[in-house]
Amino acid sequence: MVTVAEVFKTMSYGPAPEAADVAKAWLERHQRQFDLVIDNKWTAPKSGSYLESFAPATGERLAAFADAGEADINAAAAAARIAFATWSQTPGHVRARHLYAIARVVQKHARLLAVLEALDNGKSIRETRDLDVPLVVRHFYHHAGWAQLMDRELHGFQPVGVIGQIIPWNFPLLMLAWKVAPALAMGNTVVIKPAPATSLSALLFAEILVEAGLPPGVVNIVTGGDQTGALITGHPAFDKIAFTGSTEVGRIIRRATAGSGKRLSLELGGKSPFIVFDDADQDSAIEGLVDAIWFNQGQVCCAGSRLLVQENVADAFLAKVRRRMSTLRVGHSLDKSIDMGAIVDARQRETIDRWVQRGRAEGGEVYQADCPLPAQGCWYPPTLITNVSAASSVVTEEIFGPVVVAMTFRTPSEAIALANNTRYGLAASIWSENVNLALDVAHKVKAGSVWVNCTNLFDAASGFGGYRESGYGREGGREGLLEYVRPAWQARPRPAADPPRATFQAKSAPMPAPINGSAFTVGFPTIDRTAKLFIGGAQKRPDGSYSRPIFAADGHVLAQVADGNRKDIRDAVEAAAKAAPGWGKKNGHSRAQIVYYIAENLSARAEEFVQRLTALTGDSDSARREVEAAIERLFTAAAYADKFGGTVQETTLRGLTIAVHEPVGVIGIVCPDENPLLAFVSLIAPAVARGNAVVVVPSERHAVVAADFYQVLETSDVPDGVINIVTGARDSLAKTLADHDAVESVWYFGGSEGSAQVEKLSAGNMKRTWVGYGVARDWFDAEQGAGEEFLHEATQVKNIWVPTGE
């Protein structure tokens, strides 16, 4: 036993354990075995099997929990479906009261939740007590407000339905809150599966929901292993899947749900840059780095794991980092004097260590803090790897542990280039005392959350989510709600088999039309017009040198259009990718001017388009209306060019949290056959007005309209490459677009099979997709043809956090 006199001399830290007695009593009350929670009742798994949960800090067995099988998922989904009928019709104010009650009851049991979470996950009690649980509470309060205001603030939207949610082990309860709160606020019901390593806080939360009086079936908690997750994603009862986890699993889920008509939001991996400029407050930046990579043992999707330091201060900065690492304390999750707890399990620890060994083998210099690790349990020391380059695997791959890699840069533009030299785009942290520099970099970094002179800040009022392979969808803020609603006019898509297209396809083969015999006429033959592709601002002959006929309503060949192939798509994407950055940076006023100019020129040639559409469809009234509507659509889009830039989010930060609606980048747009001009314009206009560059595949059947349209574009000052048009076989061109890593989103309005193909192939670079599943929409309708969803799809939300104060 240590004496006061000894410590008086050494001034060491001692143990400061948080008591776990209440948490253990709770486990005992359940005899350390938990069933599923379906319809607010403990329900034994029909599978009859259970898994076990251990405390990573000690290896102690905490409890067994049910391993849900197919019959259990059926039962949970059925309960949620029944509850949805009532819950979705429950007034916003009533839902608000329920969410408010949940926040209150969570607060009442805050310490129990914090202790249980720390025990089960291995993370420190300081974090669960000061961060996880308070953020959970905040999330339910904030979303109680959204439930209250849904009718006003989300007018024109309806709930999505029954949601299947799968969450990871790194922030078990917080991720649950991020999933459940917005879903419930918007009138959905859920079946949620916690991660097998960390199911306990969700099970305690189930009791909290009952105590808070939530009606049965609204939230059902099904524990289980990876197989249970697969059962949820594959189950037809769900209208949406929301997943947080690795990019690898996200990709599997994308493929598994492709073509099902289920909505999908994915919050995936990251390799987020932490950028330190030479004018930063270095000591503060180092504390930021501690919060960036040694928070939660680095098991954070948005961990600042790539340290980029300006070369002229790098040596001094890294020396300070090493010094700081020496004061980090690693220990039992319930010790109140630690900075880092245990790694979640042995497998994860091995993965981390394998990466570090690989980094060393590739020439990296590995520095590990000389901090004592407990003898028992699952630990990894804080680790810094230097002497690495952009090509090192520890630089490109997510390690998901307390390991930061460091590189240097010379100039701001090199910092941005390095920061963006990644497949991910979840977050970034920027340290500089120069506001001009910091905000400029914040705008140029490709990431969903950008923290200026801070890091890893979260709040319910601000959306969190990624660019690129970090996924899509946001959690938090109004942008997060859009993941849990659909337009009121739209039914849940139930993709059906496409009608046969064989006849049309045979007829429109890229060869001259069959000879039908024609009368001999005397006079001037018309001068041939060759419809070409429109790529990089110029008319291009198709790579394959084939053409395909376009038929008039009466069956005669109206024109031949270029038959584009995958190389033409490749060229068009190149052109778009080149144009996108400059176009995206142009101010909204300038973009609006150009979209208005397109409208002006379309109007000037309206009669020509009316005739063309009449020839194609045989309906002159409709043709006239279509041209007029297309002009109006251009006006709508132009109007929004400078009216959808973002908002100031009311987070708890002192300073500004700014949601910027950035362009997505290069969008592939595949148009439907109906309303060949109006649909085409309705889709490209908002995309272009909001700063994207597009590669458009127009209606295959009526492609000649688009070929006429590029002449309008040519006279409208559209910068080269902003709008590219490739005519040809729709689904084969769509396939190339969906498969292309430089395309950041594909909008597809062909059939259900093509929709499935696009969704499946999008998993390659985890691009966003917006598909029609072959379900027609009324393009003349203002909501269906130009609703908020068009703007939503044309933008991605970046939240920039700027604390203030001198």
Partner: protein
């Protein structure tokens, strides 16, 4: 600006194990390069105390150690020889002997770090502390505002030293910081340092009047360059006194100064530190940001008066398991 010549006095002050800080020439480039981000500083300050918890035997030991770092202070217009003598008695015997016995530290000589008084009370304190090694610190140089004539401020230091003050707490001219006149600040502090002779010099920045943390950082650097042995947050008379954010910045500057010059400069928060809980947060700050050396009186002092009684009550609680009332502790 004064040309730089290292002070001629002995390298060690009378009462400390730490060498004196000879100072360095004013390095304006370094001063102007100091960057402080307020929000990030606040975040670190707010989590210092939540990342560490010191309990049971450790808590008792840390609190005893804190006592040895207290500059037990009275700075009032109504100070007389009588109340100063009482304070000195408390400095000699800061904890009830029965508590020390129960804590198993009766054989350790536990006294406060110093007694801190106005110039006029220095002689009383020196006399009252005879036979101990407790130094008397004088707040000289026109404390607290420093608005008296410069030569009188220098003279006040000399007179305090002459009557037996072994430590001098000087106040800087806030004017020099607020007008960015770092040369003037450097010269002023250098001259105070020269006047201190063998006495240990603590420079009070009066951070509550410096406007920004950036100014605190810069003033800290200049005071150390000019030869301060300690830098101190406040007089206790400003509207904002010792707060952790300020302490954090000053400690970081101390660390930077040590990194560049090898000199260890002491730190003294003063004003508003009244509870055992507060002082432990300061100790955690020291240990985390500067290291264990800064937990001992050579490099760490706390300017306080009411704090001692609260610590004594906490020690009593540790010993008895019961919460103690103030009137059970002998007053200072």
């Amino acid at each position: 600006m004064l040309s730089f010549t290292p002070p001629a006095q002995t390298a060690f002050s009378e009462n400390g194990a730490e060498p004196r800080n000879p100072g360095i020439p004013l390095d304006l480039g370094w001063v102007m390069d100091a960057h402080v981000n307020l929000s990030a500083t606040e975040r670190r300050a707010a989590t210092l105390g939540t990342r560490r918890s010191v309990k049971k035997e450790w808590q008792a030991a840390w609190l005893l150690r804190a006592i040895t770092c207290i500059d037990l202070t009275t700075l009032s217009g109504d100070d007389t020889p009588g109340n100063v003598r009482r304070l000195c008695a408390k400095a000699r015997q800061p904890v009830r002997p029965d508590l020390l016995e129960a804590l198993g530290v009766a054989d350790l000589t536990i006294t406060t770090g110093a007694i801190c008084v106005y110039h006029s009370r220095v002689a009383d304190a020196v006399q009252a502390l005879q036979g101990t090694n407790i130094p008397v610190a004088a707040v000289s140089t026109g404390f607290p505002a420093g608005q008296s004539p410069f030569k009188l401020r220098v003279q006040e230091i000399r007179e305090s030293v002459a009557v037996g003050a072994r430590e001098i707490d000087i106040v800087i001219s806030r004017e020099h910081v607020l007008t960015g006149n770092w040369v003037a600040l450097y010269d002023e502090v250098r001259q105070f340092r020269d006047a201190c002779g063998r006495a240990h010099m603590k420079s009070i920045l009066a951070t509550g009047e410096l406007g920004t943390l950036r100014n605190v950082a810069r003033a800290s650097l200049v005071c150390m360059m000019a030869g301060s042995d300690f830098i101190k947050t406040s007089t206790g008379k400003e509207s904002v006194n010792a707060i952790l954010e300020v302490g954090l910045i000053m400690c970081r500057m101390i660390r930077a100064y040590q990194e560049r010059t090898g000199e260890k400069i002491g730190f003294k928060p003063a004003g508003g530190i009244r509870t055992a809980k507060q002082v432990m947060n300061w100790q955690i700050l020291m240990k985390e940001e500067l290291g264990d050396d800064w937990l001992f009186p050579d490099l760490f002092r706390v300017g306080a008066s009411a704090l001692l009684t609260d610590i004594e009550r906490q020690l009593s609680h540790h010993v008895t398991g019961r919460y103690a009332a103030e009137h059970y502790m002998p007053m200072g």
